[in-house]
Amino acid sequence: MKNRGYAVYLIPGIVASTAVIIVPLVMTIYISFTKWTGIGSPRWVGVENYTRLFEDANFWASFGHILLLIIAMAVVPTFLGLVLAAVLFDYVAKRFSDRWASALRSGYYLPQVLPVAVTGIIWGWILHPSYGALNRILAAAGLGSLARNWLGDPKYALYSVMAVMIWFQLGYPIVMFMSGLQRIDPELYEAADLDGATWWQRFRKITIAMIRPELYVVLVTTTIASLKIFGQIFVLTRGGPSNATLVPSYFAYKNFFEKAQVGYGSAISTVLTVLIVVLAFVFLRLQNRAERS
């Protein structure tokens, strides 16, 4: 009975989370079954918003774009980050010095500390077709034929956003993996060296095996971040040109605040939420299974 009396400490947290998270969540799910402009009272329409959603080409396109953004925000940075963290930890830190390794790590991490809106401004300017830095640099280097309307041409806009996202995300896995690598006993590497293992063998058998927990954390958090992406899209392209960079969160935002189709916007965000929660549970299961074996 000595643990009695702690439950009161949960009261503020539960009250606050109910008001800010649970009530709005339930409201959105309810609104997604109605037609509502945000004024007056919502009219119940059943699953109409959802059937409309599944026939809406923009909805499918926005999720298609997310697949490419997962490559840019989760897959590529995780892979590059793994290699870079291993090189920094196992090569630079040993052959040069720890200072070199941590200085490089900080440099790679820098983009992560900027507000996403500022990231958008920086790249919006660099990629601007007429006064942007990239096209001016290309022209100065005699490569003017490569100059494009990077963000304004539907053919290139999404790829440009992908490149920006790789730049933005790379530092996060590097920092995570390097902190995981510190758990590794250096004797493991020395023993592998004595047994004549190549760098690649040590990378696969020791590095990857040891930082598997971090690997999962990075993949889960970056994948979920790509599903939620909003700020960069808002500042860089506002989903355009002609919806070439439309993503679910911006699609929902447009329906809420520009088109006053609150029911439809709620259906979009409900689908997005279901997807994120399912994904998180799948990842958690996989992680548990991997830890047990």
């Binding site: 008001a19 401004i121 902190s179 979920i224």
Partner: protein, 293 residues
């Protein structure tokens, strides 16, 4: 830049094989890493160089030239135009209050769950975790609607309440796992000295876990500072905007030239960099702590 050192274990000082030491490939790898570092920081350097360049200079010499003279007018004009001092204060106040309140809320929750081990603690943890996972799009419209009904719309207060709850979800998760392993002897000693739950919390638990709380504070501060989506929707009047919103909205208007854009980007970068330098140690430690679980 000073960097958190990755302290090498003592064992590693045994001499590495000299044959490896002199391979020319050694410097190639370092050179490759430095090129990558340059790529990562280049956009920020380009911004900094052009923020202090006059429009005429930019027009005739392009983005890569060194400015003929330091031209501060762009920055000063932009600062005055957006009343940047006020935006800085709004951002600072919001982030500070959120960080303090969210740490306190996390401590309360984790005290009950980690130390008190109240019944159903796993379910409470899942509850808080899911709250952290949900995309803000699914909460935004009801929150917007409720804020309007309560007269909290377009006030920093609304943002403070929401982010306190959102951030504390992560804090509860991290801190609960820390408090689960809290030394029982300390609590028993406090109980013998006649301390109740409330006194034990403030006199024993909080002081002992101060390093973790510092990490949480740092995270919450920076996360709140960088938030864009909800502030964009809630803080519409000029007097209430935070730094990312003020910059992001202006960028969307696309009425700026190259040097004004880089000036605006630079004044968005500087505070973020300052926090990065101040908090660097805590941040790296915190990422390590977050990665373990």
């Amino acid at each position: 830049m000073t960097v958190t050192a990755t302290r090498a274990p003592e064992r590693r000082t045994e001499t590495p094989q000299p044959s490896r030491e002199r391979r020319p490939g050694r410097f190639l790898i370092l050179a490759g890493l430095l090129v990558l570092l340059l790529l990562m920081v280049a956009p920020l350097l380009v911004v900094a160089v052009n923020a202090v360049k006059s429009p005429a200079d930019y027009a005739s010499h392009g983005p890569l030239s060194v400015p003929d003279h330091l031209y501060w007018t762009g920055i000063v004009d932009f600062w005055n135009r957006v009343d940047f001092g006020l935006k800085l204060w709004n951002s600072f106040l919001t982030s500070l209050v959120v960080a303090v309140l969210a740490v306190i809320l996390s401590v309360f929750n984790a005290y009950a769950l980690g130390i008190g081990r109240v019944k159903g603690r796993i379910w409470f943890l899942v509850f808080f975790l899911v709250a952290n996972l949900l995309p803000q799009e699914v909460l935004v419209y009801p929150l917007y609607y409720l804020a309007k009904q309560l007269g909290l719309y377009d006030s920093l207060f609304s943002i403070i309440i929401i982010f306190t709850v959102v951030q504390s979800a992560f804090g509860t998760y991290l801190l609960t796992s820390v408090y689960t392993e809290f030394p029982k002897e300390l609590l028993e000693a406090a109980a013998i000295d006649g301390a109740g739950r409330w006194r034990a919390l403030w006199r024993v638990v909080v002081p002992v876990s101060r390093p973790t709380l510092a990490v949480l504070f740092t995270f919450f501060f920076i996360w709140t500072w960088n938030e864009f989506f909800l502030p964009l929707i809630f803080l519409i009047s000029n007097d209430n905007q935070t730094v990312p919103v003020a910059l992001g909205v202006l960028q969307g208007d696309r009425m700026m030239d190259a040097t004004t854009t880089s000036a605006s980007a630079l004044i968005g970068i500087v505070p973020a960099m300052v926090f990065f330098l101040i908090f660097q140690r805590t941040l790296t430690r915190g990422i390590a702590a977050g990665a373990i679980k």
